[in-house]
Symmetry: C2
Subunit: 368 residues, 2 copies
């Protein structure tokens, strides 16, 4: 029986996690599987009360879980970085969750802010490297606080770390190629037997050390996937193309920092943060993977009960994929799709007046 560690966290985190767990309970009953839940009290409130961010003992307990479900961390009363680095990034790194998987998919019934694009055009997945780059926390100051101050911040990239992430991306393109082949490919490319595509997004013309490594790893990894087209876009051009021609993307592989940026843009394309799910994956399963909505703690609406729970519910679906319960995860996705296609109930971020619980309930009612 799998054990799922639950970190409600800050702001709207606990509100959306509640709905995610209710959906999980329902689908488990219908599918006939069981699980244990272990709640963890982490986040800004705990830090402000006790000074503790993430005690080592808690890391040990989290490590014993089979998967983690996280709401959000980030608290207006806590200086930037303390909770994000102390909880979120620490877990991503210590548990070797080296892939941050972020699907960008527009569900029918959801409006995208981009003209002339619909569910056919918006269906890509971002494989964001999740353990390296500027996120390693390397850097420092000299002459801090003076007019001569210098601050440096270093991006560290390893061949092994980059390559495992790229392999994940190519494997994903291969398996997507079975289900929805030819995304972003021209007639001519299809004719040549290509079935899918990985686009590397980097900035090789400026980051001539870090992204030279990425480019070489990409070119060499691609050789093992002759049926997958490998494409390259500079990060700036990628942002343009995501808005103007999202249909040209299938799988995107990118660095931690650029992945952070382009997946927020991806969330916009798919109808907003309220719908964007993610998984921090340890594909080797040497430690638990962690699933979380992309939206964060959203202090401006916290406590009002109006946060959109769909991103959290879709994160539960990703968690069930990871636990190899694909029937259960597909059932959740179909229920979500039905609610979104119906156009109601909707939380305020989607232009409706429903509250978090209404939407969670609607998804549970939509199970077939």
């Amino acid at each position: 029986m799998p054990t799922i560690g639950v970190i409600g966290g800050d702001g709207v985190g606990p509100e959306v996690v509640r709905e995610g767990l209710a959906v999980l309970a329902d689908v488990a009953e219908r599918e006939g599987f069981r699980y244990d839940l272990v709640p963890f009290d982490l986040g800004g409130e705990r830090y402000l009360k006790t000074g503790e961010v993430l005690p080592d003992k808690v890391v040990d307990d989290l490590r014993r879980c089979d998967a983690l479900f996280l709401g959000a961390v980030g608290h207006p009363g806590v200086a930037p970085g303390i909770l994000e680095k102390g909880i979120l990034l620490r877990l991503r790194f210590e548990f070797h969750q080296y892939v941050n998987l972020r699907p960008v998919r527009l569900y029918p019934g959801v409006e995208t802010p981009i003209k002339g694009k619909g569910p056919e055009e918006i269906d890509m997945v971002v494989v964001r490297e999740n353990n390296e780059d500027l996120y390693v926390g390397a850097g420092g100051f000299t002459r801090k606080g003076t007019a001569e101050e210098v601050a440096i911040q270093t991006s560290i990239n390893t061949r092994a770390g980059v390559e495992r992430c790229l392999r994940y991306a190519f494997d994903l393109a291969r398996s997507r190629g079975r289900e929805r082949p030819y995304r972003g490919l021209s007639e001519e490319e299809r004719g040549r037997g290509l079935v899918g595509q990985v686009t590397l997004v980097a900035k090789t013309n400026v980051l001539t050390f870090a992204h030279d490594l990425w480019m070489r790893a990409f070119t060499e990894t691609a050789r093992d996937y002759p049926e997958i087209k490998s494409d390259y876009q500079h990060v700036d051009a990628c942002c343009m193309r995501m808005v103007v021609s999202p249909e040209r993307f299938d799988v995107i592989a990118t660095t931690n920092m650029f992945g952070d940026i382009i997946t927020d843009l991806g969330a916009v394309l798919q109808g907003g943060m309220g719908l964007a799910a993610s998984g921090n994956l340890n594909p080797a399963r040497t430690a638990p993977s962690m699933f979380e909505p992309v939206h964060g703690s959203a202090p401006d609406i916290a406590g009002k009960g109006i946060a959109n729970p769909i991103a959290a519910i879709l994160s539960v679906a990703m968690l069930l994929d990871h636990l190899e319960l694909p029937r259960a995860s597909e059932r959740i996705r179909r229920a979500v799709a039905r609610v979104l296609a119906a156009g109601a109930p909707k939380t305020p971020d989607l232009g409706g007046r429903a509250n978090t619980a209404d939407v969670g309930q609607a998804v549970r009612n939509a199970f077939e």
Copy 2:
């Protein structure tokens, strides 16, 4: 009489520069000012022929100009980074062009790909720091080419370098506050006497060294501008907001790398790369400033005569602002506005069938 150095450069660069220079000649005649042009042969062709990227002697000649007008550098036959770093970045750095000024303004008659937004909503300016950050070229490899390879790339940020850029942004918000006050401000903020806004875009919660310096410099600089609101957005959230609520921005101040990314997104908002102008400014005037369309060399359409010259023409307007010929620059902007409002002629990037020369001619015909 000012001397303008002209670097046509690669790909579509010379094609759009030609139209920019024709507009310049026309406006000079109408406004009765004179100038000298000095052409410089730099770019991929020269490099491939002679192995020279940018000889020191040429730098000396460029330095003697009052302003530079650049088309684009970047050549499919040259490895990434060589021309970009060797020409573009070298000039930005050596000539202390520490501000990269990129207006994001939707002209009436131009379609933006974002639903429900028009010229009223899309009118911001990005002040991109242009001499530091990941662009300094600091970094290296160890065990290059092996499975144990590590590549690092370092962002260097100085208090003085950041502060001068922030001061430029606040001064700009102040002067914009005179012409188009209250952008992005609430009723309540207007009531409190605020007239403009600077939004710092960074990632303080992850880049806790580099962006801690930025945040402290920002807070301290803001004190000298009591009538300007200072706001902060994480770069990921900024990308969302630029698409969903562009009207909330007035002046954005940001790092070199993030500025590169968000200004391409800004170019999309304003109707595409064919319309995005920029200035690499040395506000202290210790060396020439350089004006260039944002689009780059666009090898896919080079030689076809269909590149949109508007970005280059608007870059000439920025150049004339810098030469303190504001009547001439306004005249160009009004002529461009007239052509865009008329909806024709349009190059293919805007959905038309006109060629580069047609559009350049139309702008010249539109001078009143």
